[in-house]
Symmetry: D2
Subunit: 464 residues, 4 copies
């Protein structure tokens, strides 16, 4: 999801109405039915907020200031902005006499605009050296305490409206957890000394759970095709669990018969494309893709460096050799599209992807595992849709457009819903930097076709 | 269709294969079954080429040189490029000993690129003051004579391959007829003395055919909604008539129940949007649309000028007052989307549009009528989908993407098919500058969301 | 002189006062004392205006429309703008009841701005396809007739004010004669078919006057140094002949002893610089010069093309081989500076140049000769400052700044005088496209350091 | 002096030769003859380095990372770069077995380029979040210790070459002290919460030394004119004290008689220019100046904010009301030129300024005083050239060009000397952020005409 296009932009203000698809008819409405009262919600709040804290542990104060490009934000901004969400949408509305931490912060950390010109210009976030990291962390603690107090009520006493807003704030926080990591990676990659965010994955790095691949992987073997017949399919969110409004309404789509690959494309496979002069042949590319390749001088995925000794890549653990069996990562939609074209296949539509994904395993290489890099695929099993969730966001060939019957809420909400549904493509499945409780089969992420700094990869599809 | 993305870019070279969907199993394969032999084809060739000549009659040599923006091309280039098509794809392949008119022209008038850097850079076409208009017209005559000779064979003797290429060349010519007009309009609009392409519509402006509206129109009254039930619909081209490859394969789409307006939005209706501060409220716009509004300073559709005495507009007949009952014209996708949002409705999908259009009347306000401006809608008839073809291209909410199963042909063709299916939106229905024999219900035109120099308008849709 | 910074911008309007340094105390004030009455002035007027006409003879109407870059203007604009000068500053002021040719032309052909936004934007001059060339030529004829009538008075009866304005208009016309040629050259150079403005120099191309070089020249031999002692020097215009205001006041400058080369740098000499990796070594360049070299990808002077068979150059007579003994041409100040640095010498200051030039011969390779290209230097004569006037404008190391005591006139004049004295460098001596009666030793031309489309060359100087 | 164009860029490397004009024939060669031995040099070293430390005391680590524009550098970079100078040019050359602090730092903190592409791109310095401020401070301490040890020799034992390099390194450090302050000011000005670098000037703000003005000043009264006769003047550096190479050779300049103002222009005087629509009248401006005014939307000097209660300005002590009697500050050359034109006067040439300055008082409002803002002028004294040194850099009308006979040293030096002598203007006199021992009457600072973030002001001159 585009960095700022977090929930903040898709939720209302003022009106107390929200665009997110939250049905609260039952106590089981929450992602995990085991926390149905304020204490459980408070616990979940603490847990997610604490995870943010662990993510910044390896960073220095200086690292938290810089903004490496307009699409990225400084760590400090992520920390403040997610906190501001709770302050503005929960505390200021529901806590009588709540005193904001600092009068300026609602201006500094607001990405919402109801009147133009009042926000910090997005590309200038890196110039806000004040407030310091210390102040922002105090802001977090202040707000956490207030939210904790608000939720510290007897079971069931937290009104639905508050609960819905806290939950959406937590999903918002999780989006920014992923962005924080991808933005730090981008920033560090531009430093000539190429610092490592976390020198190594937490030790012991392994053994991996059965069937989940490994760091020094063996060849996963050829990908298999999973076949689907033509027919009407239901697509989109249903049920009581949390989902964003862009996943609704659930609706029918007619799909022709298709086949979809049972795993992601690997570095080795992608290298064949490069070696076959994939970056030099315009006929493989979309017109705007080719223009981008030439304008940017792309010769491989982002964070790849050609050396006399072969390709090396930059990861959140620093520079290292390219691992051939890992999934290829940090490719744009243009590259995914050109690669697919070169193979004679194509990218899946989002409806095909969702159909193939079905009800995926909740296990996977997510942010909590702290590898922050995709791992090679485990062994094939007939019909198994491997690497469904986690590892990499998968480009689909679907333009990001509203589902039939989608209608943003009236009121202030109207300003934000759907406003990004233009010139972007849908990605599915979450990545190695996505928190595991944040992702689901119907989740629609979206980025511009040229974006490469997210953990994005390729899965193929074809006609049956 | 993007100016250069005419058939030239979507057809093969070299291989003799073409991407266009031309079935030639029967003699009735041609758009009009009455010309099944070479003489009829030759006649059609002469007629379409001659229409190009009539279009440039009002122009001076100087007018034919300039290029007003990178998206537009000089008239001289349109004239040469369409001619080059016949020379390269027909004469050089099928006429033994054909001697090209001029060695340099295949370079100058080629928009096709199989090796990079060898074409005239697109934004520099206006600097090619040589060859002169006179030379280009001689080029046209030279090629016309050669094509005429090729086709002057006894009935039925023209091989299908030649016939297919000639026909596609004629459709290509027709695309450029429309572009020639829109590009001249854009050029003249930038001249401070605002020249008229054709001072007035051909006199007498005429009693219009019954039910087709008039120049000084009466209020068409409120638009009606035409309702459609949910169901599987077939979309895309079928049959033996000519169609571009992007209109295929014909396929099924499931549509929820919907309603669609029975006419285009008028200037008067659009003025209400402006007067309601439509161009000042970010919440009505797609995010990129709002950025465009601000960057470009838009305050109304293209070619609208606010004066002390009200709005005036620039037409191909010069400046004149805004006519409230004419359809609003020269709006971008962003404006169409914002307007629709403001009304509480939305734009139709292309599948909805095609479903509603059905088998439209071949009558309409097309290029041949030489008004080159949309006219007010005629009286409503229950259930009639008015202004279906002609008048204005209608923005749909559908991103321009391939139909299921679409696959560009292999070979050189591979370079071109589908390469523009990214970050553009589909328009339907043709305009007052489209030749009548060029348009059909399944025709998919496409432009970027910010484009305004084509004759583009708005039709609304909504959930049932 | 920057294209638009002709006299038009440096003379007043409205007030009837002018910034040019015209002393009119005697009847001999005019450049050539032999035409002291209206008939002589009228004759001179006709002659200069007619020369403009001869310059456009080789052009097609199409050639006169296009503008190849913001710094250049279309031929049609040059033709209209110089005519507008006479209409606005002479006819409208001094001819009772004068009726302007066309109401719009004072807007279209005005480069003067007293209120912002009312002129045609400079980079859009190429979009004014109307008025046509024919109309502009009729405009010229109309104004010529009116000026002729005004001047057709008995001897001495033309008032000084009119005479001064007519003369300045003629110098203005001559500036634009040179610009017309350089702008056409630039335009044609961008056409892939590289048209020749004039296929060959007028035949017979020669014999050249004794000592003036030749087209297929022999090696001029090493350049000599002419030495000057230190001392106070008078610099700037004096006397009754016409000069621009920027050549005044005449003033004293103290010069240290210096030496100056007796001829221009040749292509052969410049090739040594290229072959010594002159375009690859940042240490030879001014900082902004090096940035320009890299940004533009310069590898040699403008209009030079490296081929497998050696360098070829584009001239107003088309492409041809590089002639080693001709002066190097179309170099920027940056290149002149880097070349001089590489030799261990430097560029002269404008005061040194003027001192060395003294009272130059009025002969030279000027526009009237219609070679429109510099010729190789004739044989050396001890102490002779060869190639002083004509052939090429010579870059000096002097920034274009006002002479001590320079003060632009008050009133409307104040808007224009001296406004270009910033970030430009002075050139001296005129070129092969400068009319011979337009140039003199004190003439100060000026361009930005990166400009290359004028006929600019290099003369070295050094400390004594 | 342009941020990077410190001595670093103008001194050699490798060869051990330097371009700076250091005569070392006598023991009295150093700026202050009282420190002729190593201990005195070491003391001066410590003092100047310590002053840098005091300058960063008010800053947070976060403040030291950000780069607010390409012309500015992060504080951390200033700290590292000046240290790198001593390490590279002194320690690595003259200390046997010196072990660099960190292998990467010579890359990170080098602004010198002998091979392209190896430096950190200038606009990306703000992305180097590592090394941290702490590491850079340790780098400073490490180098300081090593330099201290090198200089800790008996009197006279420090060889001239080392002494010269240490001294130049100290002047380099002082240049960066000023830049550090101006860059922090620029950075903080962009922060919406407008932090103060130092909340107030050190208390007590003090009785100012007699005749030096005050913070809450009284009107200094009208400026007086100091008159000078025409004549030959010596300009440039002479003697044994330190000076940069661009101040040499000392040479003669002929000056016409002139008058120069005895003080700087005040805010009140500049407000009259604004109120007289100075920023709206193109005729007052240089052509490129006017283009800049429009492109940037300037309506007053930098750091001025118009409010309902009058102008407020941003200073290093935060936002406060405009003080009418203080000198106007943060104006570009364009504004200084337009203001002067508007008054009917002009800016002085640098030769006039130097002539008028004579041997100025060493007292003044310099960096050590820690006001970091100009103060109002003290009372007039007949013939006294007030505000000569300190307070503000004064724009002259002289383009920054080499003095006659200036020649950069051969060798690696050749890469750097004089390379900035193009399209910049000379400023004289130092500012409130210049260390007092860094400035002198012959000192030539230079910036582009549009630069405003330095402490720049206006002094007028006129013909006699």
């Amino acid at each position: 999801m585009a960095p700022d296009t977090g929930i903040l932009e898709r939720i209302a203000t003022g009106s107390g109405k929200q665009a997110v698809h939250v049905q609260t008819k039952t106590k089981q409405a929450w992602g995990d039915s085991s926390w149905t009262d304020g204490r459980l919600l408070a616990e979940r709040y603490r847990e997610i907020r604490r995870f943010t804290s662990t993510l910044i542990e390896p960073l220095e104060a200086e690292d938290c200031v810089a903004q490496s490009m307009p699409d990225a934000s400084p760590t400090k901004w992520h920390l403040g902005h997610t906190t501001w969400f709770f302050e503005s949408f929960v505390l200021e509305r529901f806590v009588d006499g709540y005193r904001p931490f600092h009068a300026d912060f609602s201006f500094l950390f607001n990405s919402y605009y109801n009147s133009i010109g009042e926000r910090v210009e997005r590309p200038k976030r890196g110039l806000m050296t004040r407030p310091t990291l210390g102040e922002v962390l105090r802001y977090r603690a202040y707000v956490d305490e207030a939210v904790g107090a608000l939720l510290a009520k007897p079971s069931g006493s937290v009104p639905d409206r508050i609960r819905a807003l806290v939950e959406i704030g937590l999903h918002h926080e999780q989006q920014h957890q992923e962005l924080l990591l991808t933005d730090v990676k981008h920033l560090f990659s531009l430093n000539p000394i190429k610092p490592a965010y976390r020198p190594e994955a937490p030790s012991p790095p392994a053994p991996l759970p059965e069937g989940e691949g490994s760091r020094t992987a063996t060849d996963p073997g050829p990908a298999g095709w999973i076949a689907f017949d033509e027919g009407l399919r239901w697509v989109g969110h249903e049920g009581n669990e949390f989902a964003y409004d862009n996943e609704s309404p659930r609706h029918r789509v007619f799909l022709d018969a298709f086949k979809i690959a049972d795993r992601l494309i690997t570095n080795r496979e992608y290298l064949e494309f490069i070696d076959d002069r994939g970056y030099e042949r315009p006929q493989l590319w979309l017109d705007e893709g080719w223009a981008t390749v030439r304008a940017k001088g792309w010769q491989g995925p982002s964070y790849w460096y050609r050396t006399d000794d072969g390709w090396r890549i930059f990861t959140l653990s620093g520079l290292r050799d390219l691992e051939p069996h890992e999934p290829v990562c940090h490719v744009s939609f243009y590259e995914a599209h050109a690669f697919a074209w070169w193979t004679g296949a194509r990218l899946p539509t989002e409806a095909e992807w969702e159909t193939a994904c079905g009800r995926p395993s909740p296990d996977g290489n997510f942010a909590e595992r702290r590898r922050h890099h995709p791992v090679a695929c485990g062994p094939a099993e007939p019909g198994a849709f491997r690497q469904a969730l986690g590892d990499l966001w998968e480009w689909t060939q679907s333009a990001y457009r509203p589902y039939p019957g989608y209608r943003a809420a009236p009121g202030a909400l109207g300003e934000y819903n759907g406003k990004f549904m233009c010139n972007q493509f849908v990605l599915r499945g979450g990545s190695c930097c996505t928190p595991s409780s944040h992702i689901r089969a119907t989740y629609r992420n979206f980025f511009h076709a040229a974006a490469r700094w997210q953990f994005t990869g390729i899965r193929l599809a074809r006609e049956a």
